[in-house]
Symmetry: C2
Subunit: 116 residues, 2 copies
DNA sequence: AGTTTATTTAACCTTTCTGTTAACTACGCG
DNA sequence: CGCGTAGTTAACAGAAAGGTTAAATAAACT
């Protein structure tokens, strides 16, 4: 609750049901009942997942008659993606990470009692 | 635990301490004690955060004398980034989402009892 | 006004998370 | 061998996650 936006975003994405809900909403806005249909869990459970997605700012709810259509707002994903992009160079070269590491070790070897 | 890789990755990222740990490891591999130093929490707490990062495959531990250096493995971030990239077009146009939505509503209006 | 439809809130349960301190393991060194 | 260093595991506690069913709310429709 006191969590930062990035934590809320990643936490929201850390559940397969919630990711699936976002995928549905990527197609078009949908009512809660409509969103819930493909899942085996109860409606209140879906309602709570949506609450977590709303807490992260990924879903917005409007009101139209008795239906509350949910809309995707992908904006928070932009920040999350930006955070991860920071590591792109790392995952692109992840195969030779170990080599690099071993080289560093050797480079540091000279000092025997190596003060930290 | 039975969770899929993507869920484990996002869950690992959903904590500021763990993200900070990854940022440290992006600089160079480090020992647990060294990693723990900047944080106010106890060493066992850091050890557990590292366990979660390892469970997600983001951190690997090797062994060197009594030290267990931790290494960043950014590979899982690649999959997570790929999942999010799916939404890039959405966040890039997130300002006019509402307009699009309202247009869709109007387009559907013709059918009055609109079978779902 | 009373019913139906859509959705949330309440109350409850179980599991997982996050942190703590204390005890244990593992290795290197004098 | 016994000690110090590095790190994990154990045991415990409180908060949050995720699910359930039952009750409440809100608007639309006779």
């Amino acid at each position: 609750m006191t969590a930062d936006a990035l934590s809320l975003t990643f936490a929201a994405l850390a559940d397969p049901t919630r990711r699936a809900l976002l995928e549905l909403l990527a197609v078009r806005p949908m009512a809660v009942t409509e969103l819930a249909a493909p899942f085996d869990i109860s409606l209140p459970a879906v309602s709570r997942h949506l609450k977590i997605l709303r807490r992260a700012g990924l879903v917005e709810r409007s009101r139209e008659a008795q239906v509350r259509p949910c809309t995707l707002n992908a904006a928070p994903l932009k920040d999350a993606a930006a955070w991860m992009a920071h590591y792109r160079e790392h995952w692109e070269q992840s195969f030779d990470r170990l080599d690099v590491y071993l080289q560093e070790l050797q480079a540091r070897r000279p000092s025997p009692s190596d003060p930290r």
